[in-house]
Amino acid sequence: MKQLYALEPVKADPDAASVCRVAIVQTKPKKGALGVNLAHLVKAFEQIAKDGKTDLVVLPEAALTGYFLEGAVYELALSASAMAAKLAGAWLEANGGWPVDIACGFYENDGGTYHNSAVYLTVGKRGHEILHVHRKMFLPTYGVFDEERFLSRGRKLSVFETRFGKVALLICEDVWHSIMPTIAAVKGARMLVVPSAAPGRGIEHEGELESIAVWRSLLSNAAAEHGVFIVYAGLAGFEGGKGMTGSSAVFDPRGKVMLEAPPLGECILRAPIDLRECDVARASLPLLGDLSSVLPDLLLDDELPLPKRRDDAAGR
């Protein structure tokens, strides 16, 4: 029987490059010192360039300013184009070569509206181009977190085309809501890039901070459920007593940790990601295909507390 609401089946782009050589830069920025941190980033880029060809460089959330800024966020936020220009400039100064893609978290000033954002740009022979800006949708504002006091949330989760096929950006708490990786995967993403800043806590856990174990578990589950790669870039360093847990990592489409950085200190993680692995993983565990056919029934459910019309959503 024909399914009335079936979504377009997710197809791999046959022209997409299958292998993406990823380098994660786990940064430990000096608080608020954008210029110092950019100069430091050039050194990291030089090291990456020297170590061989790289296709995608990923940096954490608030990678060049530090995460907890309070009111100083208004002094340090940049437009997406200014941020992209700084990143591309740093890469060129490091003689990194091209083409290369760079993803990085930053505080965005969008004409006086401020967001916790991540930019994904590609640097080519003729300059650089922004492929996507994701604005964090889930702004933690509880306990130690105070984002929504200073920032506005994003309104849309998009996937975007890259040389490696469709990619989605999710920032920190975005990925804690399982519907987010779900929607990204249903929209066709094969790689989730997750810049993050996670203040560590929980010392009762055996062998590591509890919050690190929780993060690993939820990223692994998201990767395995949808057959996607997850590139997680964690901020490192202490910010006024709150230690960021680093632990940058790459998860394969079966949920396995390919490699993981230590929690403390700066480092560079390198991994070749073969996106064809997504097809193999999905063939043996076709949960995403199942979801694509069932999701409309789940979402078009009158009992869900969802707005019925766009007007309703705007008024919320």
């Binding site: 608080k31 009111g71 100083a72 009762e204 590591e208 360093g237 202490f238 006024g240 007593g241 403390l264």
Partner: protein, 285 residues
């Protein structure tokens, strides 16, 4: 046929105080100390008031691991009524770690003021001693180019069992989010001399004083209650968890009456740029 039943034990009668992985906590706190002193402030040396108790001993051990023993300056500051064992227990730490040590008696400084206040009770006298110790610690830090490191634990902070703007004065504190029972566990992991772990904790401001007698509850019981209370359990739920209502009431009353001690002084707000109300900048900015 009767099927076997596996039942979840919903109400354990004795919830233990929170545990700790000593290795994880130690690594994290050493990184914190290096970051606060060396990275953020460019200071290589720490100065710690070494009382002979377990909190300052653990702080000294962490500082020695983070900065190297030669960069740690322990200051013993006895008053004439201080217990002699406090001095000798502190000496055990100094010798075990090979850190720098100096003993500066505070009796003359304290009595220099108290001679004008002969009727001051034990509580006032104890507060004067605690504040004079901070005068010494901060002056020594200026002399040595070192940062004073605090030693207060989470239990005494929550119960308000400290002298305001004295014990809580140093700009950084590695133990302030650890309950007392966790400090003991960390002390065992770090190899703090057993005598300091085994003895009854005391502010040593009066003869034969002990914390647990002052507080009216054991640290193990207080920590178990506090850890549950801070998560958000009501008194009724805590009683259902097996805690004595009288203990819960005592802890709740101490916490609720001492919120002010965990804050900076209250400032009258008069503008749209009131510091820490409207003008908000993180401490490391």
């Amino acid at each position: 046929m009767t099927l076997p039943v596996v039942e979840f034990a919903t109400r354990p009668n004795a919830i233990p105080p929170p545990g700790i992985d000593g290795a994880v906590a130690s690594e994290w706190l050493e990184a914190f100390l290096r970051d606060e002193l060396v990275v953020r402030r460019g200071i290589e040396r720490a100065v710690v008031g070494l009382s002979g108790g377990v909190d300052s001993a653990v702080t000294a051990y962490l500082c020695a691991r983070a900065l190297g023993a030669r960069n740690v300056h322990a200051i013993r500051m006895p008053y004439k009524t201080s217990s002699p064992s406090s001095l000798s227990d502190a000496q055990l730490v100094v010798e075990a770690l090979g850190i720098n040590e100096r003993t500066i008696e505070i009796t003359d400084a304290v009595d220099g003021y108290l001679q004008f206040e002969p009727d001051a009770d034990a509580r006032r006298r104890g507060n004067v001693m605690a504040r004079v110790r901070m005068v010494v610690l901060f002056d020594q830090s200026a002399k040595l180019g070192a940062l004073p490191v605090g030693t207060g634990n989470k239990t005494e902070r929550l119960l308000g069992y400290f002298t305001w703007h004295a014990d809580d004065t140093p700009p950084i504190n590695p133990l302030g989010d650890l309950f007392k029972t966790q400090v003991w566990a960390l002390a065992r992991y770090l190899g703090v001399p057993q005598a300091l772990i085994d003895k009854a904790p005391s502010a040593d401001l009066e003869a034969d004083q002990t914390d647990e007698a002052d507080l009216g509850i054991s640290y193990a019981r207080a920590d178990a209650i506090l850890s549950q209370m801070l998560i958000g359990y009501s008194d009724e739920q805590l009683a259902a968890h097996g805690f004595l209502p009288a203990d819960v009431a005592l802890v709740r009353s101490r916490v609720d009456s001492t919120h002010w001690k965990r804050h900076l002084p209250t400032t009258a707000m008069l503008s749209n740029t009131a510091i820490n109300e409207f003008y908000l900048r993180p401490v490391d900015y």
